[in-house]
Symmetry: C2
Subunit: 141 residues, 2 copies
DNA sequence: TGACTTCTTGCAAATCATTCTCATAATCAA
DNA sequence: TTGATTATGAGAATGATTTGCAAGAAGTCA
């Protein structure tokens, strides 16, 4: 709650510096995002934001998420057969394992895979702008 | 045109054997799919199927695609910000490079990445049921 | 602290891909 | 052919996301 609050302050500053107006609803959503340890979807973010400011509408949640995505503050992920999920973009790059039974999302990163991806793209005359890698898994045993 | 027609015949047989009724519209869609060398979406498949049988409706295209997916005859891919795309499932497993400028889709497969993915899942106590890997790229130079 | 300009918001209606409902038509085994 | 079962077309319904618009806030500068 301390680290996250600090994060919120920094984000508000950074955004203001970039000419983004800091409204009540944007601040609420930033707080929710900074405190989220999971990968909530727009509805869940709306639910959490309302706890801080009951006036926040779902439309504004979507609008703010787009804004924050443009500002590289959040990342949007669309996993199979589910609405988009969001997380702050401050963590280093990683990909996801999705537990097919529980819906749990686990993060991982493999430098070797990242390197191989770049190699493969290069072999085809391309450079990777961004990529998506999701492992849909089931517990072993 | 020969190879594809052969493929259609085999598919029709295989499906009939599994108790699937072979209707005019299903045959049309199978022909379209067997002849497709790209990754068309439902609308494009509908357009092509109508050239064979003008009565085919979009609803039936969707219904048939679901059926064929259940029968492991087609695979559905949902790339970023676009409707689902389809391809026959007869080719061996591969992943995709998407050209951000042209929309072109290029296929590739890396055994090393596939192996690493399995390893990573295992490290977390999981086994990969299926995965998704897409490289969104731009031409180099 | 106003007054002003420019952006934001909430609400409801619009989109868009996909799915579903239902009355009618087609498949296929007998 | 017949009959039981399943598929189809048309259009309405869905669900996530976006948008238009009138009303409300933010930031700026006196
Ligand atoms: Mn993550
Ligand atoms: Mn492919
Ligand atoms: Zn990665
Ligand atoms: Zn793969």
């Amino acid at each position: 709650m301390n680290e996250a609050d600090e994060k919120v302050g920094e984000l508000e500053e950074a955004l203001r510096a970039r000419g983004v107006r800091m409204t009540r609803q944007r601040a609420a959503l930033l707080t929710v995002l900074a405190n989220a340890e999971d990968h909530p979807d727009a509805n869940e973010l709306h639910r959490r934001a309302r706890e801080i400011d009951p006036s926040v509408s779902l439309a504004t949640v979507y609008r703010t998420l787009s804004l924050l995505q443009d500002q590289s503050v959040v990342q949007r992920h669309v996993f199979e057969g589910a609405p988009a999920r969001f997380e702050t973009a401050d963590a280093p790059h990683h990909d996801h394992i999705i537990d097919l039974d529980t819906g749990d999302v686990i993060e991982f990163c493999s430098d070797r895979i990242e390197r191989l991806q770049a190699e493969i793209a290069a072999e085809h005359g391309y450079e990777v702008v961004h990529h998506r890698m999701e492992l849909y898994c089931r517990k072993k045993g």
